[in-house]
Amino acid sequence: MPILDTLKRMYRDAFIEQPESAEDPKAFDWFRTKDDRIFGIRREHLSANERQLLKLTFTPYSIEPLNRTKKQQAWANLLYDNVPPVNTPVLPQEIRLVYFVLHRFEDRHRNLNAAIKSFFNRSYLTTIWKTTSEGVIILKNRGDRSCEELIDLVTADFYCDIMMLNVPDVVVSGLSETSSRHRLLFQLARHLFPNQKYFEYVHLFPLMLVHAFADQSRFEIKEWRARIGSLPPELVQSINVYFHHNFNLSTAAGALYIHRNSLQYRLDRVHRMTGLDPKQFHDAVIISLLLLNDHYERWAAEQKKESES
């Protein structure tokens, strides 16, 4: 990210990445970039105007634990440190978790808590803020209220960008381990699909596979990766839209604004170029995974390049 390089040059030793690497993290003002990089600048090196400008460009990041009620703290202990609550009512065996990350959120957290509580009403248990811009909503494991509506509500009422991951049927025992897996997957999904605002956990299962087997697949499916990687963007877009429309040529062609025969021709071309037929279910599953793998690898390569530079 060129802007971080510029900040590094400007603030030299007063600039630091990751709170863990700071001896005294409280001596810094911390910010988060849209691609989740955390950086801090020593307080005494920032003028009021500079601080304001940074706040407009990045999301302020808090390293302090946010003020929590006893109930919230009990859930936070369970969620992040696997410490079971003492002297609290019996916990439900299963819960639903809705992870969220906010961008450009400048309102009071308690206002957002009130909005979330009002939205979920009886199924609402609590909201745990991990930082000032991310957290998790804990719900009773019932009700199927769509979080997509909540995304629109929060965007309209709080003028901020919000991304959510919905995970139902979470077993409470061993919560901290499960939750850290959820958070990792959510982070990956946010990076790979930055213009998608809402994720269902089950839909991220392919991403989980791709991430888990990234090292093996690099060698084992080299040939297939090359074939998929050689598809021009126009064909990749056509396949994605065709899958999104459940193999319906007419509606997919309509969404792409091309003639049905043109889409048919493009799908045949994919078949010829890859040896996999997007119109056959099993081949379609493999194409879908290979496309995801290709997208993942491009992103990973870009990350590597950035961290090296």
Binding site: K34, D107, Q237
Partner: protein
């Protein structure tokens, strides 16, 4: 009220991906109703989100009332948003839903009450203020969503496919309600849709997008009558514009085995642009083809013989599906008794015939 300028705005999410929005340049006048329209993934919602401040602008400048707002927080841009989902708090009353945004901004109770009641009056929701969303119809819920935006008295309304969740009948009704609301409030509005009918019926000006690029900006009449390219000709209008290959000679244009004399103005423009001996794409709207009659002065020169594949009588008009020189054609005529399989003579209104370059696909004349 507000004027908005998007000055060569670009958006990219990642270096490995292409531009989601390419060089978007548009001046929006105060009080204007602008519709961004285009197929899925064309960048229209991303553009709207950049105006809202929900997405960063990668390159270019955004001005609201001559003030550069690229780095202004969304809450300070004086905008209000309406989305595809009704986006209502299910356990709050209509009044509670409409007042929530003002409450968290610490408006005085009396001011909140005044604004909510005024918006409810304009939207015809006065008698529903104590109801919860589940006790409302789809149209009423969408009106509450509009009311939530209205109570803020914003300078700009941003609407992202607000009618997509409604059934066809309700969509038509809400379309006219939003148009009426705009003429009453006169608030600058930017409206995103994939539906060209919504765009044509609601917009002061339409911005047609494809693959992150503006294809044409114009009034509904302009984009309909003079589409900038083949894409716009096919996207705007239902049924869409018909296209057929043609070749230009010194004196005529050849379509299949027909040699057609063009109006002088069109012929000289094509000749001036050096298309003699070259291929062209001719485009004509379905309503500019008629069943030929000698009374209308149709000669064999502008008349094509075809067989009707399917004839649909829609009451006030007939839609005829046919082929001319192996190219599918759709014809819209006044009600006719023509049936499937009937041979017909079809005449082109040559004044309305348009010509496009086959490579660039741009309009020539």
């Amino acid at each position: 009220m507000a004027s908005i300028v998007l000055n060569h705005v670009k958006k990219h999410y990642a270096k490995s991906e292409g531009l989601a929005v390419k060089d978007f340049h548009l001046d929006i006048k105060d009080k204007e109703f602008i519709v961004l329209v285009g197929p899925s993934g064309c960048g229209k919602s991303t553009t709207l989100r950049m105006i809202a401040g929900l997405e960063e602008i990668s390159e270019g400048d955004l001005y609201i009332n001559d003030k550069r707002v690229n780095d202004v927080a969304p809450k300070d841009r004086d905008i209000a948003m309406v989305f595809q989902n009704y986006a209502l708090y299910p356990h709050m009353t209509v009044y509670g839903n409409m007042s929530f945004g003002l409450k968290i901004r610490k408006f005085k109770k009396s001011e909140i009450d005044k604004r909510v009641r005024e918006a409810a009056r304009v939207l015809g929701l006065e008698e529903y203020l104590n109801r919860k969303p589940k006790a409302l119809s789809g149209g009423q819920r969408q009106r509450v969503a509009l009311g939530r935006a209205m109570v803020r008295n914003p300078q700009v309304f941003l609407m992202d496919e607000p009618l997509s969740n409604l059934d066809a009948k309700l969509r038509v009704q809400m379309r006219s309600e939003i148009a009426k609301l705009h003429s009453r409030l006169n608030t600058t509005t930017i409206y995103v849709t994939h539906d060209q009918t919504e765009a044509m019926t609601m917009a002061d000006r339409i911005v047609i997008m494809k693959d992150g690029e503006i294809q044409q900006i114009g009034t509904p009449e302009e984009v309909y009558n003079d589409p900038a390219n083949i894409f716009v000709g096919g996207f705007i209008g239902s049924p869409p514009m018909n296209f057929i290959p043609a070749t230009l000679s010194e004196t005529h244009v050849q379509i299949g085995d027909h040699s057609i004399s063009l109006p002088e103005e069109k012929l000289s423009k094509l000749k001036k642009e050096n298309y003699v001996g070259k291929e062209l794409i001719a485009g004509i709207r379905p309503e500019n083809i008629r069943l030929a009659s000698s009374a209308a002065g149709d000669s064999s020169e502008n008349t094509f013989t075809a067989t009707i594949d399917v004839a649909e009588l829609l009451g006030s008009e007939s839609i005829l599906y046919t082929k001319i020189h192996e190219t599918s054609f759709i014809v819209k005529t006044p009600p006719t008794s023509v049936r499937n399989g009937d041979p017909v003579d079809l005449a082109f209104d040559l004044e309305k015939l348009r010509f496009f370059d086959p490579e660039s696909e741009k309009l020539i004349v």
